[in-house]
């Protein structure tokens, strides 16, 4: 299980994470980020890549 948390005060909804882990992150029709907070361990690599490419560094994996 991987638990991901996005600081929505920092998030600017740029959607870079969407390209690294589309199964976890999406931009909705109002240009706001939505994400799946808990997912299978197999997603860890993609989520780590999403953490790296967030311009605001708003995403973290809860250990």
């Amino acid at each position: 299980m991987v638990i991901v948390k996005v600081d929505m005060d920092m998030c600017q909804h740029y959607g870079q994470c969407v390209f690294e882990a589309p199964q976890i992150f999406t931009l909705n029709g109002d240009d706001k980020l939505e994400y799946v907070a808990e997912s299978d361990e197999a997603n860890r690599g993609d989520i780590e890549a999403a953490v790296d490419v967030c311009p605001m560094q708003a995403i973290r994996i809860v250990e």
């Binding site: 931009l27 790296d52 605001m56 560094q57």
Partner: protein, 403 residues
């Protein structure tokens, strides 16, 4: 006999951090030393001209998370490098100490360009965390702030300072702000958004002097006018930190020339297996567009080049026969930038600057509101810029990537 010399990364920056992570991911288990001039562990710069300036400032808020795989990396901070000898595989730090390396990664980035003017209090640049901390203390309501330069940093600082209640004037030799990255139509729209918030633009002029004895009191322009100022921010571009490589024999024409594997290329044309370049100083070909080597000063580039250089160097050091294959993989990073100014969110993918002069087309929305603008070279979409419309912009990124 095993080579126990470390891989040395020069530059404790985002690119430096990413290359260490990538080396570990590629299976390299040997020593890594990162030598950096700044005293801070790697941190994220984009917030410095935005959030950090408008709220509290601390390293903790912007530091990159450190992963377990790179916990044993040796960070030598506050230690500028003076020179390098690539034939002997060694370098000298400014304190005169020699450091040997088995492979070298250049990640020294840029520094703000500065005018040759007196060092008065109230004079600022913005590149590092310490720069942001110093500037933040002076952006108080009612302060008269003159921003010299209307690129990314100049425009973001102007917007942030205005939001903090300062009286802001932007001086630029260009006729429109962010003209090169945005093109004429969007740049004009950007200026009108700033003006609607009370930012004053003085265009087609350059700064030639400062008045004041110990503290800035005014900014002198080339037409003889003087703008009263309590704070001056210089945002007139940046220069590559490559002086320490002067005797290296590498091609230092605008950064450091590399091949598409981020391997440094010498003036003799020889590609080095043991010297790599990442981030803002790397002048590399991006095969997504063409074979022309370019430097790209966008935020995603240190991560993309760091990952790539670490993978290639890791394969080289593994000596398991995979090196040539890994180095030959196509390297096609998608350049992207973002900027927040007042309520406007600007986002771009690709290289809009490659477009034909008549290759700029409004694709969605209206320039005066939210919009998506396409930049074409021939029939090929080479760049796209959104003012707002973040979700609608995403499919165009895929179009650029498809070539």
């Amino acid at each position: 006999m095993a080579d126990d010399r470390p891989v040395v990364v020069v530059g404790a920056s985002m690119g430096g951090l990413r290359v260490t992570e990538s080396l570990r991911k590629a299976g390299y288990e040997g020593a890594i030393t990162v030598i950096g001039e700044e005293t801070h562990l790697p941190y994220n710069r984009p917030p410095l001209s935005k959030d950090v300036l408008s709220s509290g400032v601390s390293h903790e808020k912007v530091a990159f998370p450190q992963r377990a795989a790179t916990a044993d990396v040796d960070w030598m901070l506050g230690s500028p490098v003076a020179s390098v000898n690539v034939d002997e595989r060694s370098l000298l730090t400014a304190d005169g100490v020699a450091h040997e390396w088995r492979a070298l990664v250049v990640a020294t980035g840029l520094r703000p360009r500065r005018l040759a003017l007196p060092e008065l209090a109230g004079r600022h640049t913005l590149r590092t965390l310490d720069d942001a901390i110093a500037l933040r203390e002076e952006l108080r309501p009612g302060q008269r702030v003159v921003v010299n330069g209307s690129g990314f940093i100049g425009c973001e600082v102007a917007a942030t300072a205005r939001k903090l209640g300062c009286e802001v004037t932007v001086v630029s030799s260009n006729e429109l702000p962010m003209l090169r990255p945005l093109g004429r139509v969007l740049a004009a729209e950007l200026q009108s958004r700033h003006e609607a918030q009370g930012v004053v633009f003085v265009t087609g002029r350059s700064v030639v002097g400062l008045s004041g004895d110990t503290r800035v009191e005014g900014v002198l322009l080339d037409d003889g006018t003087e703008l009263p100022a309590d704070v001056v921010v210089e945002a007139i571009g940046a220069d590559c930190n490559t002086e320490w490589l002067a005797a290296s024999g590498l091609d230092l024409t605008d950064g450091v020339l590399t091949d598409s594997a981020l391997r440094a290329i010498g003036l003799d044309g020889r590609v080095r297996d043991d010297v790599y370049v990442v981030g803002d100083v790397a002048r590399f070909p991006n095969l997504l567009f063409d074979a022309v080597p370019r430097r790209v000063e966008h935020w995603n580039i240190p991560t993309d080049t760091g990952r790539r250089a670490g993978a290639v160097l890791g394969a080289y050091l593994a000596d398991d026969g995979s090196y040539q294959e890994v180095a030959a993989l196509p390297f096609t990073p998608m350049p992207s930038f973002w900027s927040n100014q007042f309520d406007l969110a600007i986002q771009a993918y690709g290289l809009p600057g490659l477009a034909d002069p008549d290759g700029v087309r409004l694709l969605e929305g209206e320039v005066s509101g939210d919009s998506i603008t396409g930049f074409y070279r021939g029939e090929r979409l080479v760049g796209v810029i959104g003012f707002g419309m973040k979700a609608a912009l995403l499919p165009y990124r895929a179009l650029i990537a498809a070539g």
